[in-house]
């Protein structure tokens, strides 16, 4: 019997593809956001409203990951945005190779690339897709216990958006508890409360993206 030392990262291939994506995007001065949440938290609606507020001043391209259908991509395409759909046919997350292939089918002559991951609060957290920032959305109807239940996902967030705040009066949702737990599992992430229905909180969210883009362009 012989012992062979391997010492290799299991996801090394994904890491190197994610690095490739970062290099391509940096060379083109494109800033990329990866949106993650459970299904129904409001990823596509938040992305739609974000695009509406930014598209006059920024070129935007969109990559959508879904198990089936191109319904979300169609919604974004309707805003006049260059869009590509990835159907993962059952896979519960996007990986860097999928995003790399999708990038060949889309205009990178833009300022902002938005990637909408598959709706899932578990699997996408493990796969780096080469974005500059991870945006994790939690919506009020999902409940205020989710941060500690899904620590890996909330730990990889650069910002946590709490959506559907227009429903706060109708739900038992303790906002201070969520913020406290988010601070414990991810002290560096900024938490923004917003509602894609009433648009409250969007000014804060949009200025964060604008700040990120201008910071990225300084280097």
């Amino acid at each position: 019997m012989k012992r062979v030392v391997v010492e290799r990262k299991i996801l090394e291939r994904n890491e190197s593809s994610a690095q490739k994506i970062r290099t391509i995007l940096k060379n083109q001065s494109v800033f990329a956001l990866n949106f993650m949440s459970s299904p129904g938290a409001g990823k596509t609606t938040i992305i739609e409203e974000t695009i509406r507020m930014l598209k006059d001043n920024y070129g935007i391209s969109f990559i959508d990951g879904d198990l089936e259908t191109d319904r979300d991509a169609e919604r974004i395409k309707a805003l006049g945005i260059d869009t590509v759909q990835i159907n993962t046919s059952g896979a519960c997350h996007l990986d860097a190779d999928m995003v790399l292939r999708a990038m060949e089918k889309i205009s990178l002559d833009c300022d902002l690339l938005i990637i909408e991951n598959v709706g899932n609060l578990v699997c996408p957290a493990t796969f780096d897709v080469g974005a500059d920032k991870n945006v994790v959305i939690l919506s009020v109807p999902e409940g205020d216990d989710k941060v500690k239940k899904y620590p890996v996902m909330f730990n990889v967030a650069d910002t946590i958006l709490i959506n559907k705040t227009d429903l706060l009066g109708f739900m038992d949702f303790d906002m201070s508890k969520v913020k406290k737990e988010a601070k414990q599992i991810n002290p560096k992430a900024e938490v923004i409360e917003l509602s894609a229905k009433t648009m409250s909180g969007f000014d804060k969210w949009i200025s964060l993206i604008e700040r990120w883009i201008s910071e990225a362009n300084q280097y």
């Binding site: 019997m1 012992r3 062979v4 391997v6 291939r13 896979a91 699997c123 730990n155 414990q184 599992i185």
Partner: protein
């Protein structure tokens, strides 16, 4: 269940290792999985067992997983904090309140293999 994709990545690395090291049979593989990696060890072992049907290279391979607890560090206080599975993970220093850096607990690695030549 993303553990299926992770199992496939493990098999890919094993195939490369088998080729490079001129190995006949992989008897045992030792893995290191952090408790904050997002991988459920039981689900990973299930996925690897399911893969045995189609991947002859791991047909008789035993997988041994060591779970790695979270080790975090406060740069200011130069102090380490440890969390094990089931602990309430608090990544704030209890002395100065600064964010802690995760040093261990997110890794996913193949450590080594035992093989017959």
């Amino acid at each position: 269940m993303h553990e299926g994709a992770i199992a496939e990545n493990i098999v890919d690395i094993l195939k490369e290792t088998k080729e490079a090291e001129n190995i006949d049979k992989i008897v045992k593989v030792r893995l290191k999985i952090g408790i904050m990696s997002g991988v459920m060890v039981d689900a990973l072992l299930f996925a690897l067992t399911a893969l045995k049907e189609e991947e002859r290279i791991i047909k008789d391979t035993e997988f041994d997983v060591t779970e790695i607890n979270v080790k975090s560090h406060c740069v200011l206080c130069n102090k380490d904090f440890y969390f094990k599975k089931g602990d309430d993970i608090m990544l704030l220093c209890n002395k100065c309140g600064m964010p802690l850096d995760i040093i261990e607990g997110k890794e996913m690695e193949i450590i080594d293999i035992e093989a017959e030549q």
